[in-house]
Amino acid sequence: MNWKKVGCVAFLIFLFSHFLIFQTSCTSIECPFEHDVMTKYNLYKSNEKTDTLRDTLNVFSHRINRTDTLLLNSLCGKTTFRLNVGYANPEDTLFFKFSNTDYLAVDTVFVKKENYPHFESVDCNASYFHNITAIRSTHHAIDTIIITNPSVTYDPNTEHFKLYIKDRR
């Protein structure tokens, strides 16, 4: 009996079985690190220079059962913010509440969009990408909102809207 051959075959089978067990039992879950799909609003002055929030901004919306849900909590002194996007409804209705010690204004913003389910892996939770088709608002505090990039994905750095707030000074 050629024991060298037997040993060689046994080693091959040993390698195979361990590789098979390793491959089938170990899975690497490759979900995107940044998996929030959010719209990014940057604030601008009328001369296109970056503006800063001088009032406190809260953004909320209504759930399907008509209760409030807070999307942005007491933001002040910032030049940018991000908001969640509804998965499947064709239009999000958002309430922008600007407040100060002697000032209160609430604007309603309507964001119309197309929604696309996005699949990463069976190990990653469901997400949706969106294509913004239109935006309109009331104008108590907000001067204008402009769409700069309609495609909303995982990318946290892309600006989607330019937000111009009325100058009260």
Binding site: K5, C8, V9, L12, I13, L15, F16, F19, L20, I21, Q23, T24, T27, E30, S61, R63, I64, N65, T69, L71, N84, G86, Y87, A88, N89, D92, Y116, P117, H118, F119, E120, S121, V122, D123, C124, N125, A126, F129
Partner: protein
């Protein structure tokens, strides 16, 4: 150095005929994977032996994935399709006319497959709308290249055992409206590149 490389790949001139027969092999690893996990493949290959130096090879397989509704994510995924590989191996051993081989080579591979994917109904996290999504028979395809290193050892008579390690690099792909697919028959779990292997039962003919 160039002369050494040319010498390595040059067909040796001796009394051994060019056509030395062919081998039929079956991958045991893919079949084992099918038994132990949600996905795997059945694969067979036909390899020509040219002078114990060059081995043109054709691999034909059938890959399958059936991931039932995931407990955590609620996603079910199903696909099954054939895949094809065409390639060439080169015997790296100095003493080529023997029954054991160490080889390196490449494969060009292609598959066209359909995917069924479904996500059970769930409450959207913020607005609490009920939503679900899915696709059926979504057409997808992929081309890729493999670099292969492997061994082939004679056990007795015409029966060999061998294994190979492969680096797979995606060349082109189409994922339909899904954005991405999970399991690609013959390639494995979706990525731009990945490692894989085979463990083969081989018969010389």
């Amino acid at each position: 150095m160039q002369a050494d490389a040319q010498k390595l790949f040059k067909l040796e001139k001796d009394s051994i005929p060019l056509m030395r027969g062919f081998q039929v092999s079956f991958d045991l690893f893919g079949a084992g994977q099918m038994m132990l996990s949600d996905y795997g493949q059945y694969e067979a290959a036909l390899r020509l032996n040219l002078h114990d130096q060059w081995f043109p090879i054709f691999e034909l397989g059938y890959g399958k994935a059936d991931h039932e509704e995931d407990v955590v994510t609620g996603i079910a995924y199903k696909t099954q399709a054939p895949y094809y590989r065409l390639g060439l191996d080169f015997n790296l051993l100095k003493k080529k006319h023997q029954s054991n081989r160490l080889f390196a080579g490449f494969r060009y591979a292609y598959t066209s497959y359909k995917v069924d994917m479904y996500h059970r109904e769930f409450d959207e996290p913020i607005w609490k709308w009920k939503t679900s999504f899915g696709v059926k028979d979504e057409k997808c395809s992929q081309h890729w290249l493999e670099l292969v290193v492997g061994i082939d050892a004679q056990v007795f008579g015409p029966f060999h055992l061998g294994w190979s390690v492969r680096y797979k690099q995606r060349l082109a792909h189409s994922d339909g409206q899904l954005g991405k697919t999970w399991y690609v028959p013959g390639f494995g779990i979706w990525d731009t590149s990945t490692f894989g292997g085979t463990f083969n039962a081989i018969i010389d003919i």
